[in-house]
Symmetry: C2
Subunit: 226 residues, 2 copies
């Protein structure tokens, strides 16, 4: 229980500039209301219990949300990849902390502006609701993962990552460390590592490097995924 979750050292809160309103994706009014910020690897984006004044969208890189329990264990709530929105809580305060997994560009949007807009435009309101609904679904799937065996959890994680990877390519580029995966799945790094080598030996995956995973036999993984 103590091997887990040493809180990673924090680097500078945000490393670069605040660009005014980049217009790279106008499919939603939200895009127009934010400014882009850059966060270095392991930089904190917000802390839990901070007022949830903003909401965020990953442009590039990857973000993790997490909570640290009293005894030091860390639970990762989710990983957010380009296109994903995070920090959208119903409450006035964040329930989790958020950090950049790797150097990341994040669109930061003032929550009050969005709420005002939603009050007038029911389409925006519905969009907000839908995003929260998807978060809920993800959390429920996370619950489902956590009752399974180590093999099933790791397989489930790989399948999820493969699904979300750009173009759903069969080679996954992992932004996160084994410790991150372990803290997401409620396992230890040793178990993650052992399970991956086991998958490799049974030819379900290949591991060109430790952060690159090639899915060789999706059916075998899905089967494990119970």
């Amino acid at each position: 229980m103590l091997h887990q979750a040493q809180i990673p050292a924090r680097k500078s809160a945000f490393a670069l500039s605040i660009n005014p309103t980049p217009k790279q994706n106008l499919d939603s009014p939200l895009e127009m209301m934010g400014s882009q910020m850059r966060f270095g690897r392991n930089a904190e984006i917000y802390g839990e219990a901070e007022p949830a004044e903003y909401l965020y969208k990953v442009i590039s890189g990857a973000v993790r949300t997490y909570k640290v329990l009293a005894d030091g264990r860390r639970q990762i709530g989710g990983f957010y990849l380009p296109g994903d929105i995070f920090g959208l809580e119903a409450g006035a305060e964040h329930a989790f902390s958020a950090e950049a997994v790797s150097d990341s560009n994040v669109l930061v949007i003032k929550r009050s502006a969005v709420m005002d807009l939603a009050a007038r435009d029911s389409g925006v309101a519905q969009q907000l609701w839908t995003v929260t609904g998807h978060e809920l679904q993800r959390a429920q799937e996370h619950v489902l993962l956590l009752i399974k065996s180590a093999q099933e959890r790791v397989a489930g994680f790989l399948v999820e990552m493969a699904k979300r990877a750009p173009g759903a390519a069969s080679t996954i580029q992992l932004a996160m460390s084994r410790q991150d995966i372990a803290d997401y799945l409620g396992l230890t790094i040793e178990t993650i590592s052992r399970t991956l080598t086991q998958f490799e030996k049974s030819a379900a995956i290949a591991l060109p490097t430790s952060r690159q995973i090639e899915i060789r036999n999706r059916a075998a993984l899905a089967r494990l995924n119970s």
Copy 2:
């Protein structure tokens, strides 16, 4: 893995009458749009993958939502007590099934009516969003529970139930069986039982009957709750 989760036999889908629009609580427009139904113990309210045509509010009794995995394991997503709303998914289909834990009265509300209303009334839209947000929070707390030790999970469950019990009294009336608790916490009935007797021996709780739990030392439980 096989001792868990035999799906309980289904009784009659709903046992009694459909009362037109009971006006017992008008604090929300939702109350006016539903009709009350009675479900017997273990009766199915809806099945997963059914179109989510309605949304529900517990009037009396208790409801569980759950999912059964391919191998027969059952995971309970949550328990809903009087006043709680359930079945509010962002998707067009239910992600979980729902059953009455004990004989229950449930207010059934047509989803399309609510959605129409929300499109016009931004207050209703926000209310819907808030309910989903609370569900999200609950699911996230559920995740947090599932990474903990058996003691911590059971203690967390008791504290949660005590908080939600009418008047937050120190004696909890459990509507659900040990199997339900086990499937909620990702443990076995044996572990639930052993943990409860352990709490009893350490004087943290008393067990007048198996379904009545008196909290004697909330601090001790909270401490376990990590």
